[in-house]
Amino acid sequence: MGLLYGLIAVGLALIFGLMDVTNFAHGEFLMIAMYLSFFLFAFFAIDPLLSAPLVAAALFVFGAVIYLLIVRFAMRAKANAGMVQIFTTFGLAIVMRGLAQYFFTPDYRSIPHSWLGGKTISVSGIFLPEPQLVGALVSIAAFAALYFFIHRTDFGRALEATREDPGAVALVGIDKNRVFAFGWGLGAALVGLAGAIMAVFFYIYPDVGASFALIAYVTVALGGFGSVFGAFAGGIIVGLVEAVTALVLPPSLKSVGIYAVYLLVVFIRPRGLFGSM
């Protein structure tokens, strides 16, 4: 589970952490991805595992379009930019939830038979559910790819430079909007991947994103803004803490452990575990 939280969080880490744009609609991106993978399954009988790349690609386009149509303008605000971003993306989240209710109805849906659903695999005597296992592998791969991408490619450097000083990068010929649109697309694609895997073993409904979004924010902040590795580590910690809390406290309190650990970490290290900002 921790690695899946990690996977949801990486997308956010990219948008929230690396580009320093608040995105309160992240959970809704996840919701859209889950629906997409549900409909691809329901209408075309494509297994979520196969459709995952399709969903990720669709979310990439979606994220980039959202940036170009809306977020770009929110970032231009001269007065209290932080609040404008929070509430623009929050309004966007409400619209997306409303649209989902309108078109998909508030019914709970699930993908009943898939290649992975409900199966377990035995690793030296320990039974692991397959979907979670595949999710974990995908998320490790995604982290590695993103880490490489940010730190070893020109684009990654351009992204970081653009956050630091948009004026200066414009001088060396980097189009800020193109870089950020790409970054948003990438962030959305990652959460799309997470959504496609989670669609296998979670109920899908218009508000599903909200419950994961807060954990994703906490994960990113726990790891520290501006650090891909931090989000990865944050995801693992959150997953472990949740599992341990669930053993000690009643299940309904399992999130308390996550929140408490976040508070503890930032009180000791106000910039998160691996934060650079």
Partner: protein
């Protein structure tokens, strides 16, 4: 003190008195219970948002966890009333004091955090409060508390046949929150807060004790919000953790101030006057289908206003006037 500023403050006070007077007369013309309900909610959110604005607008410490104080106000009042028979008026004050103490207790570690780390910490602490109340059997857990009906009385602050007393209380609370803001704006605290918001390092170097001034703002803000929570509990006569401590309350408190103009005297009132009726009307006229059209309209309006007017709706009024009298 510059003359413009003093004149503006006098004018604000007069406008507020006139508006409050007009609002007090409103029930003479509005007999419809549905409309009265909207008016009460509007006034309540104006008061809450005004209180939120003290910490987040003036002092610049964006909190998205004020639902915690709202819930504490509601729960203190109702637990004292149902378990020990303490009158809601005392419970209300008690809730306010408890909220203020908790705000300061939390402020001690919280105010070292900055930016997103602070905002997320405020969300998280309110979520912890919500989960704890949901699992606290003695306080009704997730089922909540139904307030026993003891008949109409001011003493018990409970009215079944009429909504008017609630209306006047909400109006009084709104005026109180406004007046406190107005009064603080010109006090040394107000100046400290704006300095802390704009540049904490510079403020510190000029002798403002940044930490204490944040604590002051948090305490005042939490106290007033808790009073609002106590009012809401009496008004609904039923509370459960999700309905008084949910994350949506934190956002609903912040939203009027942000749309109206964060860190301004009139922003929260103006924002609430437009936002709350809009919310209620879209919900009852186009939300009936249950298909989320109201959410689409509501969300789109929030996006449009925050993009078009980053300084809030008050900026529509102040454009003609000389800028920056307060800075």
């Amino acid at each position: 003190m510059d003359k413009n500023f003093a004149a503006r403050r006098r004018r604000d006070l007069i406008i507020a008195a006139v508006l409050a007077g007009l609002a007090a007369l409103a029930p003479l013309f509005v007999k419809d219970v549905y409309v009265q309900n909207i008016l009460i909610l509007t006034l309540m959110y104006a008061a809450l948002s005004q209180s939120w604005n003290i910490l987040s607008g003036y002092c610049g410490q964006i909190s998205l966890g004020h639902a915690l104080y709202f819930g504490i106000g509601a729960y203190t009042t109702e637990l004292l009333f149902t378990k020990f028979g303490v009158l809601p008026w005392f419970g209300m004050l008690g809730g306010g004091v408890i909220a203020a103490v908790i705000a300061m207790g939390l402020g001690y570690p919280f105010f070292r955090l900055r930016g997103h780390y602070f905002v997320i910490a405020t969300i998280v602490i309110a979520e912890i409060g919500l989960l704890l109340f949901q699992n606290w059997e003695w306080a009704g857990a997730a089922m909540g508390i139904t307030i026993p009906i003891r008949g109409d009385s001011w003493l018990k602050f409970q009215f079944l046949r009429t909504k008017l007393p609630y209306f006047y209380f909400a109006l009084a609370l709104c005026c109180l929150a406004w007046f406190v803001t107005w009064w603080l704006e010109d006090s040394k605290w107000g100046f400290w807060w704006r300095a802390v918001k704009d540049n904490p390092e510079a403020a510190e170097s000029l002798g403002v004790v940044v930490f204490n001034s944040k604590m002051g703002a948090a305490a005042v803000s939490a106290f007033l919000v808790a009073i609002g929570g106590a009012f809401y509990a009496q008004f609904l006569a039923y509370i459960d953790p999700e309905s008084v401590m949910g994350f949506q309350f934190s956002l609903l408190m912040a939203l009027p101030a942000v749309l109206g103009g964060i860190g301004t005297l009139w922003g929260p009132v103006l924002g609430a006057a437009i936002l709350i009726p809009m919310t209620e009307l879209t919900r009852s006229y186009i939300g009936g289908s249950g298909r989320g059209v109201d959410l689409i309209v509501y969300g789109a309006l929030i996006v449009a206003i925050s993009l078009a007017l980053p300084r809030g709706l008050v900026s529509l009024f102040s454009r003609a006037k000389p800028k920056g009298a307060t800075r």
